[in-house]
């Protein structure tokens, strides 16, 4: 019996972009210093009528189209986000009707900061492996929040990516998965608070690097992988520097990491961050390539996956679905006032 894996994928990046220099000019920061610090040149911004739900629908529709999967054969839809439009009302039930799934598909919203969508992938893989469902859909979607003028204002962005997991028509098999979690107060948002807080010195070493490197090392030691076994390595991308440093710590050369870096031109899409990097790599990968994927969620935890690309990848790459590379170039620049409007950061009576 063939292995469970990624059957198809779809990504969606809103067309609007704001340049780092325009944010810096508003808040009196030195733009060059900010770019040097984060390696984020511009970031994606949702349209005024977009949110985490509309983005999830767009990404999921593209995944269904790429894999030519009948929505009625999707047995589960799990959404990972930390920017739910409703405090109480699920995203996943809206996806059931927007995508035309059956009313018997398991539908769950998952929460673990930026890691939730990858937890959805693991849960769905389990449902497929057990024979409970034929295909499942895991979606990472966010319109992430950052207080205007604060550090996150330079990186928190919008985007979504959807993965169809199944056993039939697999384009990238799951070979192994490993997780690393601990109570680490690096980043949080309390109920009712519009913007998250972060624990300054906690965000780097004790949070991102400990968990990302811990999960990747654990996966490689437990399953006997070497750096040379992987053609690509993709890490969660809160900025452009962290994934490169995590890769260097693990001994990965830059050329295995750079193809999956998208943060430099769309910012941190949170639940879609590493998974967007994976979507981009899948668009260029060849049969037989092995991919290391490491997601991260604040609070904190990481999931590391080893994926092996199959011959089916070529058919998926030929599908008439917008590619991540194309969406990176398809953009409309907006100024800071439009950015505040689109993100509803000016008080409006809608």
């Amino acid at each position: 019996m063939s292995r469970v894996g990624i059957v198809s994928w779809g990504a969606y990046i809103p067309r609007y972009r704001i340049r780092t220099e325009d944010i810096a000019a508003t808040w009196g920061d030195d733009p060059q210093r900010i770019v040097d610090m984060y390696l984020v040149y511009e970031k994606s911004v949702e349209g005024y009528d977009e949110d985490a739900i509309t983005i999830a629908v767009e990404a999921a529709r593209r995944a269904l189209r790429r894999g030519k999967v009948d929505p009625k054969r999707i047995g589960a839809v799990y959404s990972g986000t930390e920017s739910k439009p409703y405090a109480v009302k699920p995203i996943s039930s809206i996806l059931v009707d927007a995508l035309g799934l059956t009313n018997n598909a398991f539908a769950v919203d998952m929460e673990f900061a930026c890691k939730a969508a990858s937890d959805g992938i693991i849960a769905i893989a389990g449902l497929v492996e057990s024979g409970r469902i034929e295909y499942g859909l895991a979606i990472g979607t966010d319109t992430s929040q950052g207080e205007p003028g604060e550090h996150l204002d330079y990186s928190a962005s919008s985007g979504g990516v959807a993965y169809i997991v199944g056993r039939d028509g697999v384009a990238a098999e799951f070979e192994a998965v490993y997780t690393f979690n601990s109570d680490t107060p690096d980043f949080w948002r309390r109920e009712g608070s519009p913007y998250p807080m972060h624990g300054e010195g906690f965000t780097g070493e004790p949070a991102y690097f400990r968990h990302v490197v811990g999960a990747a090392k654990g996966l490689m030691e437990k399953y006997g992988y070497k750096v040379s076994d992987f053609a690509y390595a993709i890490f969660h991308q809160p900025n452009g520097r962290f994934p490169m440093r995590a890769a260097a710590t693990l001994g990965f050369p830059a050329d295995k990491v750079k193809p999956g870096i998208v943060v430099t031109h769309i910012g941190n899409t949170y639940n879609a961050s590493a998974l967007m990097g994976l979507a981009r790599v899948l668009e260029m990968a060849k049969p037989g390539d092995r991919i290391l994927l490491v997601t991260f969620g604040s609070g904190a935890g990481s999931n590391a996956f080893a994926l092996k690309v199959t011959d089916v990848i070529e058919e998926r790459q030929r599908a008439d679905v917008p590619k991540v590379g194309e969406m990176l170039d398809d953009k409309i620049y907006i100024d800071y006032a439009t950015y505040l409007k689109n993100r509803k950061m000016v008080k409006l009576f809608e």
Binding site: D49, T54, V57, D97, A98, G100, F349, E350
Partner: protein
């Protein structure tokens, strides 16, 4: 502006989310918005049919005086789009009016259409955008 009620919106979800139209089983005519009885042949036997996700922009107009629900989205581009057997009226988004052309390909976008204040329902539905 008075919004569509929650029960009415809920009943229209298949049309709003997935452009589910009605096709007359007797004469084959397709209707969107859906109808209960075929205005052409009078048959009561109609079936659901989903319209395609891509179509052609037939005509469009740019509105700067708009209903209150759309005040924050000015200018609103309203387009008539041929989607397979039906013509559908909808908002065109992510587009500059001066770059739009009649006859160009557009695709369905899933967007927020009406937001019922700070605490009410977010009503989602179809809009259109130029095909990338």
């Amino acid at each position: 502006m008075e919004h569509e009620s929650v029960p009415l919106y809920w009943r229209n979800i298949p049309a709003y989310y997935r452009l589910v139209a009605r096709r007359c089983k007797r004469c084959g005519e397709v209707y969107f918005p859906p109808v209960l009885k075929c205005p052409r042949c009078g048959s009561n036997e109609l079936e659901d049919v989903e319209l395609p996700q891509e179509g052609e922009l037939v005509e469009f107009t740019v509105l700067r005086s708009v209903p209150t629900d759309f005040l924050k989205q000015k200018p609103v581009i309203l387009g008539l789009v041929k989607l397979g057997p039906a013509k559908v009226l909808g908002q065109i988004v992510d587009a500059a009016p001066e770059k739009l052309k009649e006859g160009q390909r557009v695709e369905v976008a899933f967007r927020r259409v009406v937001v019922d204040g700070k605490y009410g329902l977010v009503m989602y539905g179809y809009k259109f955008r130029p095909r990338p």
